[in-house]
Symmetry: C2
Amino acid sequence: MGGDSSPEDRVKGALLAATELDVEVALVGPEDVIAAELAKHPKDARISVVNSADAVSMEEDEIVRTVRRSRDASTYVAMEMVKCGEVAGMVSAGNTGAVMATAFLSLGRIEGIERPAVALVLDYNGKRVLLIDTGANVDCRPNHLLQFGQMGSVYMNKVFGLPRPRVGLLSNGEEASKGNELVVDAHERLKESDLNFVGNIEGTHVHQGSIDVLVADGFTGNIALKAGEGIADYIIQQVTAAIKSKPWLLVAGVILKPAIKRQLASMQYHETGGAVLLGVDGIVVIAHGRSNAVAIKNALRVAKVAAENKLMETMRASFSRTPRPNSFPATN
Amino acid sequence: MGGDSSPEDRVKGALLAATELDVEVALVGPEDVIAAELAKHPKDARISVVNSADAVSMEEDEIVRTVRRSRDASTYVAMEMVKCGEVAGMVSAGNTGAVMATAFLSLGRIEGIERPAVALVLDYNGKRVLLIDTGANVDCRPNHLLQFGQMGSVYMNKVFGLPRPRVGLLSNGEEASKGNELVVDAHERLKESDLNFVGNIEGTHVHQGSIDVLVADGFTGNIALKAGEGIADYIIQQVTAAIKSKPWLLVAGVILKPAIKRQLASMQYHETGGAVLLGVDGIVVIAHGRSNAVAIKNALRVAKVAAENKLMETMRASFSRTPRPNSFPATN
């Protein structure tokens, strides 16, 4: 529950996943609402229902407080199922802040990780780049960025099978001297680490296939992501206007549309399966708030692949060498 | 001189400007190179040549030092002409850092302005947004962002005639609480100022016409700009691939191309005339390093319009009410 996507789409997505991915899916939320949706479809033994209160709607400012008093909310109940091993991972299309706060409270951090982060796979026609962080941590220290690089590398290694993921640092220029204080310092640490760090990368080059992991603080990562979305939106709007300006252009446009759509499909969140919360001790996929059934299915696929490839075990092992920090803002 | 654009394009651009904008243009650089270029065109009495050394090519790290010992370089000579009032403003297609360093040394800051910034007009099919700063100041304090808003407002008022430019602050969410520490603090200051501050704005909304000035520190502004360029590049590349995939799609594509180009033309730097260095005491337009003749002409038009509308006088008056700061990193 939670987010803008309908129970209808979520139930459909779960059924799609059960069939196409051969997974069992537990739907967590008010039993009557879910049962009513399920009744519209043929019975599938791989789908179960776990009763909980609805997701709690929250103001950004109140998230942590609200989460603490809402241990019967669907997100919390699902998270506890991850924690005690009843399920291999979870998907939520709820508010990212609420999912994060719940994850901190329920699952906790993996030892050695200072700041869990939200990572998103950007897919440029098969050239995949994991952007980490997309907005969870707006104020970072250099060591956080180093750890984002490490978490991102583990993820791309386990989920996409890349032997040695190439890590780039988002900056305003390629030279090591470019960037704000945070980025210049983080560059040094990444360079000294045993990650496959290829240096700074500018937004103009991210789609060109030279990196697998793109490290940024959550503020910068979010700005880059939304600036790209804004321009994409604008260009599509302008191309549509051009097509509609004359009848013969409209004909040409109609002919081209499916090919263009196919070519750009990989960019859409429906296909990429949503963001992943890395650094907490369990598999948590955050689907887009407006996910349709296909998006939900793909988010479930991400959780499945991560679990099958032992993402958590590798993440824990990778950070067990790191000295325990004491700098994470307490959430309990 | 300087930058990647040829003397040929610059001379052509100057001739275009002389004819179309009815301005006099002094070309500053090695006399023999410029004379050879001019000889290819019919004589125009509005064009003059001012001899100087070539632009000095510099490594980013050496800019300030190099500028100090290169007072015969074309940029410095042109800047001194602005300073002593021989010309109303100048255009350079050279390295931005070098132009800035030269401007600090020659023109100096306007009293009251802590950090000069590079501002760029983004043009979304006639909806114009001035992004300030695009990269000059990678580490800012909240008061710098406030001043960027003020400089941007004066610019959009004088150059585009907007009575009360709407100022937005680039952030990762619309709520006042969203942003990193810098942005949250800058939001407060902008809100308390007498600017027409409309609040935080996300990159997804910049092109929608709700703001005239977009404030960001130079690191964030640069990231947003290049992320947008990257996505635009990717989409155009994918659309081209789609068109080329089948002969009949290619036909449709060829029919559509001019209309799409026309619709997207306003986004290109050739049309917008380049960036403006605001905060130094003189009109300095920084054209794109790869400017063609039209881009150079449009950059000259920006300088002309700014001069005619008394941009500098208004800027000085606007900041004369601000107490003098002592925090600007010394360049002399």
